[in-house]
Symmetry: C2
Subunit: 346 residues, 2 copies
DNA sequence: TCTTCGGAACGAACCGTTTCGCTCTGTTAT
DNA sequence: ATAACAGAGCGAAACGGTTCGTTCCGAAGA
């Protein structure tokens, strides 16, 4: 039903090859240019990406594999990734691994099978085995947020350990000593942040009793429950550090619900300011990641890899081939969202 | 690089046509079956969906166009839609319209251009003009959550007016009379729920003073702000009805932060229980939509439409053609999540 | 004037499938 | 014994583009 390149030929008398050249920005006589432009708009011609894909072996689609599409963190990344891709004409095929390594491996195969040009992954597995199908098919992969243990990969993330370590300054400089942590221990990111926390405490010469260490799931209700327990301790901490958005949200709920006030009775330092700071009183101190920039960097890196792999196939050689073939880890900076959820202990 | 059907031919001596038939479940001699199966697994052959798509005009991909991928409501829908599609071998191409009609129209064209087999939309526009490209291309569309004003379309949703109306019973039966509402007026859903609220109040013969009507954006901070204002009124309401998740979340924050207690000082009735009820104390009364079932229904309906449109093209006629050609509106039931956020006013 | 050269257009092959129409078997009914 | 038929396999023509190698042309250089 839709017009094809051959309809354009019938209309203009030009050959299929010439029309294709025009469509791809090649040199065509000015007079033919206008004829073509006219025919194209009259017939509402649009190139058939499928047919093009068959010969170029490109689908102008990238796969994005996240561990949970409903999590606000993933959702935010997806939004920015999607925008960046769209502006370049790329579609975004999304899979949700439901925090399950099995599903993740399966989804990756699915994406490979769909012949996406590249894949962005926020991984749940911590080793690279599940990426094999992509590697075999020559499909570039860029990781976000989390690295893998066994092998270096293209990756865009923050220095989680350092970010946590530095953020702890806020509490320590305000003379807090009894500091608890609520963190997730299931994924790379959470572990790193926990390490940063422990190092900061150790360096400050402060103990962290077992009941101050709440390590569990990456979930709002875990944060809620943990904070409740902390507030009920006889030896209550004066400050709590929370290492991700979901946990922070739950913990905030718990404090608000208690008779304790923040920051008078309990100081709070959270992670990943997504919307909370616009709403909650007092405004939270938070470690924030540049999610938009991270997404854009990931897309940029991925597309560069895609471009390179295409060139390699065609044997094309550029002298200004400055880009590395090696895995690149891009470490983004973080900043502290100022607030007044931390009390100065004189 | 990957094996093609011709490699299989070389290996088995069978013709391309026969191999294709086998791949699509056609009749092939048992002996050839085993030969084919062996060759396929040895060569790691997998059919090239692109090439197949070129001739079948199907991509096994559906587009999903939501108004905000980061909103938890959309995210939850996407999760279930994605699962349903995946189990049927379909990929999910996602676009975010950022609650902008212009972007929405553009995204729809993008999806059409990508030759998706069908499209699921949670629309932001309230008229059907933006769907024209899909209609022209013969691509089925199923709406979710929101209808359009000018025309009936395939749609899966709840009866928002009725759900709100019925939910109000909870407050009215508990003898509440000073009831405020915080709602979003920007989209179909919010308007309907607001209507339901007003009708319930009217039927109960209760007035709704202007300062009890908080109509604004579909956002957490709007809920937060509105609730704060309500609590500061001299003539404070005894109960508040909140008509979506974001607003409910914000409002809960505001109450928790105030010196007022729920339900002693203020009763609350929310909408869309996504996670809140697992965390917040007191447990909230909430109107809940069957989001999983809605998603599955939408996918089911869409795939049925896709199937039908394929048959129409091939002129295939089935006598058991029971399915309607007319637009179908599937109205799902809602239920009330019990809690104790509502006080009985003796 | 005769070559040389480069830009524009062209024809045809190709990408990896599906599908149409045909042939070739071997079985069943007459 | 023969006609009719069904099942399995085959070759070739699509599908709608890209691209390679070639031809054609006019302008520039010798």
């Amino acid at each position: 039903m839709p017009a094809t390149i051959r309809d354009i030929r019938a209309r203009t008398g030009l050959s299929v090859a010439t029309i294709s050249k025009y469509l791809n920005g090649g040199n065509v006589l000015p007079e033919n240019r206008v004829k073509l432009q006219a025919a194209i708009s009259e017939l509402h011609y649009e190139v058939n990406e499928i047919a093009r894909g068959l010969v170029t072996n490109k689908t102008k689609t990238v796969g994005v594999l996240v561990y949970s599409i409903e999590s606000l963190f993933n959702g935010t990344l997806l939004k920015y990734i999607g925008e960046a891709l769209r502006s370049l004409g790329y579609g975004m095929l999304i899979c949700d691994s439901s925090e399950d390594e099995e599903v993740e491996a399966q989804s990756l195969r699915f994406l490979v099978n769909k012949k996406v040009d590249g894949i962005i992954v926020v991984p749940v597995a911590d080793h690279s085995a599940f990426l094999k199908p992509a590697r075999d098919a020559g499909i570039p992969v860029v990781l976000m947020d989390r690295s893998l243990m066994d092998e270096e990969h293209d990756c865009v993330k923050i220095d989680n350990r350092m970010a946590a370590f530095r953020a702890m300054r806020l509490l320590l400089d305000n003379r807090h000593e009894k500091i608890a942590v609520i963190c997730s221990q299931v994924e790379y990111t959470g572990i790193q942040r926990y390490k940063g926390f422990l190092e900061a405490m150790e360096q400050a010469g402060l103990p962290v009793p077992a009941e101050y260490r709440k390590c569990g799931r990456h979930a709002m209700d875990f944060g809620y429950q943990s904070m409740k327990e902390l507030l009920e301790l006889n030896n209550r901490p004066t400050a709590v550090f929370m290492t991700n958005y979901e946990i922070t949200l739950g913990a905030v709920m718990a404090v608000k619900e208690s008779s304790f006030r923040c920051p008078e009775d309990i100081s709070m330092l959270g992670f990943d300011d997504l919307i909370l700071s616009k709403v909650v009183d007092p405004k939270m101190y938070m470690v924030v990641q540049p999610m938009r920039e991270m997404s854009e960097k990931a897309v940029e890196l991925l597309l560069e890899r895609i471009e390179n792999s295409r060139e390699k196939k065609t044997g094309e050689k550029k002298f200004n081939e400055k880009k590395s073939e090696m895995p690149v880890e891009i470490i983004m900076g973080t900043r502290i969202q100022e607030g007044n959820s931390i009390r100065f202990l004189g």
